[in-house]
């Protein structure tokens, strides 16, 4: 939603012309802000800020502030300052009107749903979900190992580059590597990953001559369609049609070609878009069993999971539904080398541990977590600090004064009073030089 908030005012006002966007925005607000909007829905005069402060209890004041700030940021509230009555807030009239309309009469989607007597067989919800997940997994897989490029999805390579930016880093000659944020990305749940990709997609819209506001409005609208229903795509504009093709590659929609016109069927991924990030509706079951001897068994058929595990573990063998691997010092050093931290690995293991193990406390054996942390600290035994080295002081007094000065500034790292040498942090170097100048005069 930060995306929406960052849009310029005119575009934002235009967005609010669409009832569904108003609705989606409302859903994305913090609870208290939702309540304010609802409360002020039928109040046409500005409400003084002091009065609104009375709505909350004393300990809710910070939440109140957050809510109001958010509403102003999204231009749902407009602030009116008056010398006599102080500040007061009123709802954005377009937003208010649309929401009133929505609440009283509901909304009708601008797409016509497919008639039930149509000959095309609709995929069942189950099929649709597997389709969506398969498509999404394919996409992720392609994302992380673009080097071994099997062309699985139809996403153009330039598009892929955009998504990969920030997640992968090109290092020397050994091909792209996952960065720290890339690993974090893989750890996120599907909904969060989806939002990340969508955000990248939208922020690149301008390069493709597409208005970001149009794109956002279309995506938000899409999330109000009913999962598993087919909608006619002849009412879509060309831009929307193109977007739809990209979304189909991501598994958000399934396209179906009829005799005369084509349909699109939103999947669960699409309809969950407007659900706030906090509650991911489908938490996946874990699949990893970690043993005290550093061996790890992952019950998974997915190639993607295998790739993720490969990031920090040595895959020993793979059975149709089981991946056996071991965490070794080498595999972990490899991971640390790529900027992955031990905490990330441990949280990943905890989040994905098999339901049987998840009941145990702790779900990951303690000796394993400890060892992972120890190996990481092994690498960090040496800490680098930029510093300057001084010697050949003219006298003991000058040396002593210099030491005191450096200590005062908190920059003294090392001193050798016998041979009159000292090392000072480079941040203090300038002050040190000035000080020595004055001393030598």
């Amino acid at each position: 939603m930060d995306m929406v908030a960052s849009l310029p005012a005119i575009k934002l006002d235009k967005l609010y012309n669409n009832v569904f966007i108003c609705e989606a925005i409302l859903r994305s607000l913090p609870p208290l802000a939702k309540k304010y909007v609802l409360q002020m829905l039928y109040i046409n005069v500005p409400v003084p800020a002091t009065m609104m402060e009375e709505w909350v209890l004393a300990d809710g004041a910070s939440k109140h502030r957050v809510a109001i700030d958010r509403l102003i940021q999204l231009r749902i509230f407009s602030e009116i300052s008056d010398r006599k009555r102080g500040t007061s807030y009123s709802l954005n009239p377009t937003f208010q009107n649309n929401l009133q309309k929505h609440i009283i009469s509901g909304g009708v989607l601008p797409r016509e749903p497919m008639n039930s007597d149509n000959a095309i067989k609709l995929p069942s919800l189950q099929e649709l979900e597997t389709y969506a997940l398969k498509q999404w997994e394919c996409f992720l897989l392609q994302l992380i190992n673009s080097g071994q490029g099997e062309k699985l999805t139809g996403i153009s390579s330039s598009m892929m580059k955009i998504f990969q930016r920030g997640l992968l880093s090109q290092r020397d000659k050994d091909g792209p590597r996952l960065t720290e944020s890339g690993f974090q990305f893989l750890l996120m749940d599907t909904n969060a990953q989806l939002w990340y990709i969508i955000r990248e997609y939208i922020s690149n819209a301008e390069e493709r001559d597409v208005e970001p506001a149009d794109l956002i409005s279309f995506l938000l609208e899409l999330s109000f369609h009913v999962t598993g229903e087919a909608y006619n795509s002849n009412t879509l504009t060309e831009v929307q049609n193109n977007t739809l093709k990209d979304l189909a590659d991501l598994g958000l929609v399934k396209l179906q070609q009829g005799r005369k016109d084509s349909w699109f069927i939103p999947t669960k991924l699409a309809t969950n878009l407007s659900v706030s990030l906090a509650d991911s509706s489908a938490r996946k079951e874990g699949f990893v069993v970690m043993e005290t001897n550093f061996r790890m068994y992952a019950y998974s058929t997915s190639k993607l999971q295998c790739e993720i595990l490969r990031l920090f573990a040595r895959i020993e063998y793979q059975l149709p539904n089981l991946i056996a691997c071991a965490i070794t010092k080498e595999s972990l050093y490899n991971a640390f080398d790529n900027g992955i931290t031990s905490d990330q690995i441990i949280t990943f293991l905890q989040q994905n541990s098999h339901p049987r193990c998840a009941d145990r406390v702790p779900s990951i054996p303690e000796n394993v977590t400890d060892q992972i942390r120890l190996w990481e600290t092994d690498l960090k035994r040496i800490e680098m600090t930029q510093a300057h080295f001084y010697d050949e002081f003219p006298s003991k007094d000058v040396f002593e004064a210099a030491c005191d000065f450096a200590r005062e500034w908190g920059g003294l790292l090392w001193e050798d009073s016998k041979r009159m040498r000292l090392v000072v942090k480079s941040e203090v170097h300038n002050q040190m030089r000035e000080f020595l100048h004055t001393q030598s005069k």
Binding site: L38, D59, S105, V108, A278, D279
Partner: protein
């Protein structure tokens, strides 16, 4: 109930069970018509559903002599679009209105059968409360993540003292389930049942003064999700009417006799408790009955 809490959504997702008073005897006496009232309520429901995609609303109609589920958003939302016919009313609530109509006619027939002249024109609150709790219990047991439930009673009819025991039992089970019962009383008298229900379960009780602005009352007070309740100023109870009904004649009483074993309440002295069967000591009672066995239950208003 830690296991229950851990399964809940972290945010403000709520399940609202609305008990709608459809007692015809009450609605013939009010300042606003039932259809006006209904339009306020439907807009409110729409607003609640709009607040979060995962919000759920269940409506239970409370009639004169029966009650029934008339709307469940989790069942209808999936094919709601197909029914949209552009009549201006949201498609979702088409089924609600249809079911409500059916319910009212059925309720009318039922109430004709039992002819009792002296019954107070109350609605079957105990029945609908139990239905609401059953529904919530089912949600709790469904195993998956579930929204935070709460009950909202929209009632106008006066209390029926004969339902006292049943209503109190429902209230206590709601308390055990940690389900707050909000109550919005739109009638003229005060409802002791609803006051007690909200007081015991930690819900909000409010009596709107102007019924024209019912929607505003509903959104301001009763749309607040449980998560926000911690820091929002809500109306506090002015006083709770704790009066009870006696078990023998179902009359609301200020003073009465209480069985020392099972705490049943009677308006006059009995030799034996009709609930638990314990025999009251007679010799003592004759002498000093007014002191030992009589307890005063005073309304704190």
């Amino acid at each position: 109930m830690p296991s229950v809490v851990s399964k809940q959504y972290s945010d403000d997702v709520s399940l609202l069970v609305l008990l709608l008073d459809t007692n015809p005897l009450f609605w013939s006496t009010t300042s606003i018509t039932f259809s006006q009232f209904l339009s306020h309520v439907l807009a409110f429901l729409n607003a609640v559903l709009g607040l979060n995609q995962l919000n759920q609303v269940v409506v239970i109609a409370t009639g004169y002599s029966s009650c029934d589920y008339i709307y469940d958003s989790s069942l209808t939302s999936n094919h709601g679009n197909l029914e949209s016919n552009g009549t201006g009313m949201p498609a979702l609530f088409g089924s609600l209105l249809k079911k409500l109509e059916e319910f009212v006619t059925k309720d009318e027939e039922l109430s004709k059968e039992e002819v009792s002249e002296d019954r107070i024109p109350s609605c079957l609150l105990s029945g609908s409360l139990s239905m609401a709790l059953c529904y919530i219990q089912r949600v709790f047991r469904s195993g998956h993540l579930h929204p935070q439930p709460r009950i909202l009673c929209l009632q106008g009819s006066p209390d029926g003292p004969e339902q006292y025991v049943a209503v109190m039992n429902s209230i206590f089970s709601a308390q055990r389930l940690m389900v707050p019962i909000d109550s919005c009383y739109i009638g003229v008298q005060n409802s002791a049942f609803l006051q007690q229900a909200s007081y015991i379960t930690g819900g909000v009780h409010h009596t709107p003064k102007q019924l024209d602005g019912l929607f505003q009352y509903l959104t301001t007070i009763f749309a607040t999700d449980l998560h926000s309740r911690g820091f929002v100023q809500l109306p506090k109870p002015i006083g709770v009417d704790f009066r009870a009904s006696c078990f023998c004649h179902k009359k609301t009483i200020d003073m009465g006799y209480i069985c020392s074993v099972c705490l049943s309440i009677f308006c006059e002295h009995h030799k034996k408790c009709s609930t638990c069967g314990s025999v009251f000591g007679q010799s003592k009672l004759d002498d000093a009955s007014s002191v030992s066995d009589k307890k005063r239950k005073a309304p704190s208003t």
